[in-house]
Every structure is written in structure tokens, then in C-alpha cells.
Symmetry: C2
Subunit: 195 residues, 2 copies
Amino acid sequence: MDNKSLILNNIGKWINLTEAEADHFTSLLKPVTAKRKELILEAGEICRYSYFVTSGCLRGYTIDANGFEHVLNFAAPNWWIADMYSLLSQRPGNTYIQALEPTSTLALSKDAQERLYREIPAFERFFRIITENSLVSFQQRLLDNLSLTAEERYQNFCKRYAGLTDSIPAKQVASYIGVTPEFLSKMKHKLLYKK
Amino acid sequence: MDNKSLILNNIGKWINLTEAEADHFTSLLKPVTAKRKELILEAGEICRYSYFVTSGCLRGYTIDANGFEHVLNFAAPNWWIADMYSLLSQRPGNTYIQALEPTSTLALSKDAQERLYREIPAFERFFRIITENSLVSFQQRLLDNLSLTAEERYQNFCKRYAGLTDSIPAKQVASYIGVTPEFLSKMKHKLLYKK
DNA sequence: TCGATTTCTTAATCTACATTAAGCTCGGAA
DNA sequence: TTCCGAGCTTAATGTAGATTAAGAAATCGA
């Protein structure tokens, strides 16, 4: 399946498009690729695109006042990623988006997205639905951070991102679940031997 | 301003409705009130409404495996609240919604909401936008929990909910920022005398 | 191919916050 | 008006996870 089929398939789970609409939509997409470790968005920039990952893997993260990184999300193939705050407000954001490995995306510009809303109202529905799903999972993650131990969060992570556990460096898994790499290392050892 | 004007005003910030559309919309709303401490949604139930608060204050919270409460959100007048997971999936949720004081809401049923999407597509846009805003603020709160100290989170909370700081019991402020009431008490003492 | 970063691990020590426990305060029910 | 239970405070003690440090392993640039 080529990249445009992949994204149409993804959208087709939620809304129906005519062939003409589908063609129009794909004509708005711009292929964007990134090498391993390359940044496709940096803090301080205005986020002008939503990225749909077709291969590889991206991560979104911020750097706090003390210089520590915090991973907000990973985006494997079939996922969308953007700095939502910056994309919506068109103000400089505080998110970095980086490729963990060579990655291909289809980028939809903010302008094109707004145009889609006007021309094909079903896209309003599509983005409403994926935003709702994202909201639910961030709410759950917040509650998990408040109520689960680091070990439970790590096990959740392994289930949730089962396919990616190997391609994501431990350091960044630690950052996602909210512990130091040292403590993650200790937990892995413990889970391996004690259980 | 009466309650229906309040909600139309709120919606009017994002979309324009004809008078007929506005009337149709308000005809779908069901007034729901709750006494202090009354639950309008309990864990295990299916959430069938989004609630728009017109007066008073609600809080959404869960109870974890160890019996501890975690406050997901507060809803002051002009805010919407629901158990998004349950509302979207129409499956039993794990959220309680409780009145902190005598509260009036306008409830929009899931059915009515779906009907609105079909009849007045602008509502698709409205709910997309408020869901996006909610997503941004939950992402920020997650990052705050990962990067700020409890003291910084408390000060953020005081700014964000400036108008409510008094009407929300300390116990629930503690639960929102993710500390025990004992530790919040200590922080308040410290901020009062040391600073 | 090989030094130089960067990442991962192990271990000692430290600290922010939790737990436990006890007394205090206050609004509400009888 | 009194009592009672819930919320708030203070303080002693406990602990999950951070910090620091240093060596081992993987990755990278030239």
C-alpha cells in the first residue's frame, strides 16, 4: 500500500469521501522526510503542519527550565503528530518533534486544513474525532501519573507501544513515563530477575 | 443574562448560528441541577450527557485501586464537563461528577449532540474547537506534573482557578495538583510565612 | 578503523513527598 | 446546645524515586 492509500485508509475509518474529495485531499499533502535524529519542529518556532507518519517514528518533547526533556508522545506509522498549542494559536510553541529513525510523513499545512474544513465539512468531523480520542488518552495518562507507581506505568507503556519498545531508546521511554533513566534501568533489572 | 443566553454566548465565540438554529439548539437542552455534594454521574455508569455549567461548580474525579480520589477537572460557570471516555464509547466509565455547591447545568444528551452534528454542521466545528482547547490544556498539565515541583503546581493552580480558590476545599485542590492534603497544608504554611 | 560521544547500568546517598497519628475547628443534625 | 463527623493542621517517621558518580557498552564521526 502506498502512502496516500495509507492515509486515506486511516481517514476512511471515520468518514466517507468521494473519489474527487479523496483526490483533492491528497493533493494538499506534502511529503516530508527526516533522517534519524533530525528535528522537523523546534521550540520557539510556529508549528505550521500536522504530520501523518507513513514509516519510521517521531517523538514530541519539551525541555523544561532545568534542561530536562519530557516526552509528550511518540508517533508510529498511522499516527498524527503536531504541537497542538502552536498549531492552533499560530504562536511560537515549546515542543520539539524529532525523528527516532529515518521517517516519512505526509504533512498537512494549517492553511490546507482550514481550507478542508470549508470545502469538505466531513474533515471537521474527522479531526474532531481524532482530537477526542487523543484527549481521552491524555486524560488517562494524567490519571495514571497520579495513581500508578513507576513500575505500573512502565508495564502500561510496554503494552501500549508493544511494537515500538525496541526502537525507542530507554532514555526516552524513561522520559515518557516520568522517571530517570537510572531508575528505569533498575526497574528493568528487577522485572527481569525478581518476577 | 439567562442560562440559554449564557450558553449561546459561549457558543457564539466560535461559530455563528441563525436564530432558528439557536432556538433548535436550546430546545435540545435539559436543565439539570444538583445539590451540594450530589453526584450527577458515578463510576460504572454510562455518561449520556455533556453538562454546561450555568452556576455553581462541578468536579470530575476518579477513585484509584487504593481508594484515593484524583480530580481530573473542575467546571465553573461557562465550562463544559463530561466523562469523555464514557460519552464517546457509550461504555461504563470510571469518573464521578459531583457538585461542590448547589449547581445548575444545561445537559446536552449524546443523542442530541449526534443529531446536531447532522442537522447543523457548525456544531461539528464548535465541539472540535473546544475539544482541541481541552487537549492543549491537558497536555500542558501533564507536562507540568512531569517538570514542576508541587509548590509550583500549587501556584499555577491558584492563578488558573483564581476565582474558585475559596470555593474549592483544600482537600480537592491537593487531589488536583497531585499531593496529599497534609503536604498541601505544609506548603500553604510555608508560602505564607517564608515568602 | 578507531577515538569520542552518547547511552546504559550499577550503586551509594539524598530528598520531596507519603504515611501515620494526633489534636483542632467548624458546620450541620437532633 | 451539644455532639459528631469531616476537613484542616502539625509533626514524626518512612519510602519511591532523584541525584551523583563512575565504569561498561553501544554508536558515531572522520
